[in-house]
């Protein structure tokens, strides 16, 4: 293997050297990159957004742009809201989407081959910030060159000429470094298309004489018995990054492959920080210097950061005297779902921007997969929509609204509708309480606002019909109405809390249902027990309007 430093990738290429599969030789890659550089210059583009599925095309675009002194911005997706947010930072979009420049459109008079300038801030990564605003992270080519040199020093010899097969997109730092830039510099072939499914990964692997994987926990924890594990155990190394790989998934892979996955810890901001293999502790990469702030969050200095810069993370850690460390979780409200970084404040702000919502809070629910749950305080308009169109239509509208701001994966799957968000004594709603409210099943009982004895020995209660009562699911999907049987059940249950009543239910008489009770209604409930006759009298009113009334017969 011949190592080519990143800045020399456009200089003369070794004859016949393969860069990527399906077939893209180093010569061809170089020609196309230089022609793309010429086209960008002719069009006077200096800031280019690039979103390409084909890692070979991405390599051509990056090297060509850098040769022309063009800054490349890598958006995580092509949603309208993402484009809008980035519009002021870019001159043109290069992607496979309609309306954008195609890579085939960018073929100009080639610029002469030359070394790239390592001080050039040629790459801008886009990620979610904890305030809700998107975060742009600029990288000098030197930082990227240092990243791949570190990786090659650690694992280059054992990988040899193994084909690099990725399950992750190359739009993010991990895929970009591991799937594209590292193999390019090392002269190791890489697969141009990502293989997100286990069966495809297997097929792509087993036709190669030697291979390694650049994978994510999303895939690694969901690989089944249907794969040919003995054949796959020829894999030279299994990289996992983007988010934590659960320990049991790591152990299962080790049993199946005879090799534990190599986990990489890093982020768009920090670049690669540390790695581990079958170990609780992370080993920092060469040249990484770690410290902690007062809250225990890691601070990082490294050759993959600008010189002299110390990057403050939100990752709490426990540092050991030998330099290794354990991660203890995040200190801010950024979460990762299947390795996608999601800013809860951003989505909460987006939700609150909808007319149906007055306030919203989000939390993560761990099920077969992790997804978001939303606690939504409805506005008057939202309550109106719920009463007249039902829960599903309301939530569909909110999901559609959010879909303009985030990927499908971040759309909340569980929703809890409220009239207002609860708050603790300080007026705050701690995340633990949000999570607990999302975990709890939808409520079956009323909100009891007030209760006091009346003059006749009975009780007067003030109730509110919760907007998200579980009974509304089927009664009725598009027009939620409080079922009569639930009204009787509530009356009896509340009466038992307040009065000493016989235990046996003997029947009902003179039941009257005069007016529908609907989500959010405030109801007055009068309860009186006639001991001599063994009858519980109940009457619901909504303001001056009687809703329902009747007598429940009780006995021993």
């Amino acid at each position: 293997m011949n190592w080519t430093p990143l800045q020399e990738l456009l200089l003369e290429a070794p004859a016949d050297a393969l860069a990527a599969l399906p077939e893209l030789t180093r010569d061809r890659l170089r020609e196309r990159a230089l022609a793309l550089a010429g086209a960008l210059q002719a069009r006077r583009i200096t800031r280019l957004a690039v979103h390409l599925d084909d890692a070979g095309d991405l390599a051509i675009a990056l090297l060509g742009a850098w040769r022309a002194g063009v800054r490349v911005l890598l958006p995580a997706d092509l949603r309208p809201a993402s484009r809008q947010r980035l519009a002021q930072h870019v001159d043109a979009w290069l992607s496979d989407a309609a309306g954008d420049l195609r890579i085939t459109d960018l073929q100009g008079n080639p610029l002469p081959a030359a070394a790239l300038d390592l001080d050039f801030e040629g790459l801008v990564l886009c990620t979610s910030g904890s305030t809700g605003a998107p975060k742009l992270i600029a990288k000098q080519l030197r930082q990227l060159a240092n990243e791949v040199a570190t990786l090659e020093a650690l694992w280059g010899a054992e990988l040899g000429s193994a084909c690099v097969i990725g399950s992750v997109s190359a739009q993010h730092i991990y895929g970009l470094l591991f799937r594209v830039l590292w193999p390019l510099c090392a002269g190791r072939p890489f697969l141009r298309q990502a293989q997100p499914f286990p069966e495809d990964l297997q097929q792509a692997s087993l036709v190669r004489p030697a291979f390694c994987w650049v994978a994510s926990p999303a895939l690694l924890k969901r690989m089944g018995d249907n794969l040919d594990w003995p054949a796959l155990s020829a894999v030279r190394r299994v990289f996992s990054s983007g988010g934590p790989l659960p320990d049991d998934a790591a152990r299962q892979l080790e049993r199946r492959l005879g090799q534990a996955p190599t986990q990489i810890y890093g982020s768009s901001e920090t670049g690669g920080v540390a790695w581990r293999q079958a170990d609780d502790y992370w080993q920092p990469f060469a040249g990484v210097e770690l410290s902690q702030d007062a809250e225990g969050a890691l601070r990082i200095a490294s050759p993959c950061l600008p010189n002299g810069h110390v990057e403050q993370t939100a990752d709490a850690a426990e540092l050991q005297s030998d330099g290794r460390f354990r991660l203890l979780g995040r200190l801010d409200r950024i979460v990762k779902l299947e390795e996608k970084r999601i800013s809860l404040p951003m989505l909460e702000q987006a939700l609150a921007g909808h007319a149906f919502v007055s306030e919203a809070r989000l939390g993560v629910i761990q099920d077969n997969r992790a997804y978001l749950g939303a606690l939504v305080a409805l506005s008057a308009e939202g309550l109106h929509a719920l009463r007249n169109g039902g829960r599903r239509a309301l939530i569909q509208a909110l999901r559609q609204h959010l879909g303009r701001y985030c990927e499908a994966l971040a759309l909340p799957r569980r929703w809890r509708l409220l009239l207002e968000l609860p708050g603790n004594a300080q007026g705050k709603l701690p995340q633990t309480e949000v999570d607990a409210l999302l975990q709890a099943p939808r409520t079956l009982g009323p909100d009891c606002l007030k209760r006091h004895p009346d003059d006749a020995g009975g009780w007067l209660l003030e109730l509110r019909v919760p907007p998200d009562l579980a009974h509304f699911g089927g009664h009725f999907p598009a027009t939620p109405v409080l079922p009569g049987v639930v009204q009787i059940d509530w009356a009896l249950g509340l009466a038992r809390e307040l009065m000493d009543l016989p235990s046996r239910f003997r029947g009902m008489e003179v039941l009257k249902f005069q007016q529908l009770a609907r989500p959010g209604d405030r109801l007055a409930l009068a309860l009186r027990y006639d001991q001599a006759r063994g009858k519980l009298y109940f009457a619901y009113r909504n303001g001056e309007t009687p809703c329902s009334s009747g007598r429940i017969l009780l006995g021993e």
Binding site: F197, A218, L219, R222, N226, E338, E407, A408, L409, R413
Partner: protein
């Protein structure tokens, strides 16, 4: 709707934690992934595992285009029917 089809729809709802979706809301010949239900590639992975587990079948990893069986409920039903072990 056949019983198997109903079972597969219910499996999709349960395995993927879909709230407010009933089996009749999933149209058998409409794409499962993409815009409709908002399912993504991780759901496809989860569903692959759930189907294999529930019906005791194996997705043949050597066959081409195994993922095309997951296009919609109709194709999934046909796939399960063809691969299901015979019941004694």
């Amino acid at each position: 709707m056949s019983r198997l089809q109903l079972e597969i729809k219910q499996l999709i709802i349960d395995a993927l934690g879909l709230e407010d979706i009933a089996p009749e809301d999933i149209v058998a010949d409409e794409p499962l992934f993409g815009d409709g239900l908002g399912l993504d590639s991780v759901d496809a992975l989860e569903l692959g595992l759930a189907i294999q587990k529930r019906f005791g079948i194996r997705i043949d990893a050597e066959a081409k285009d195994t993922r095309k069986h997951f296009a919609n409920v109709d194709s999934l039903t046909a796939f399960v029917e063809a691969n299901r072990p015979a019941v004694a």
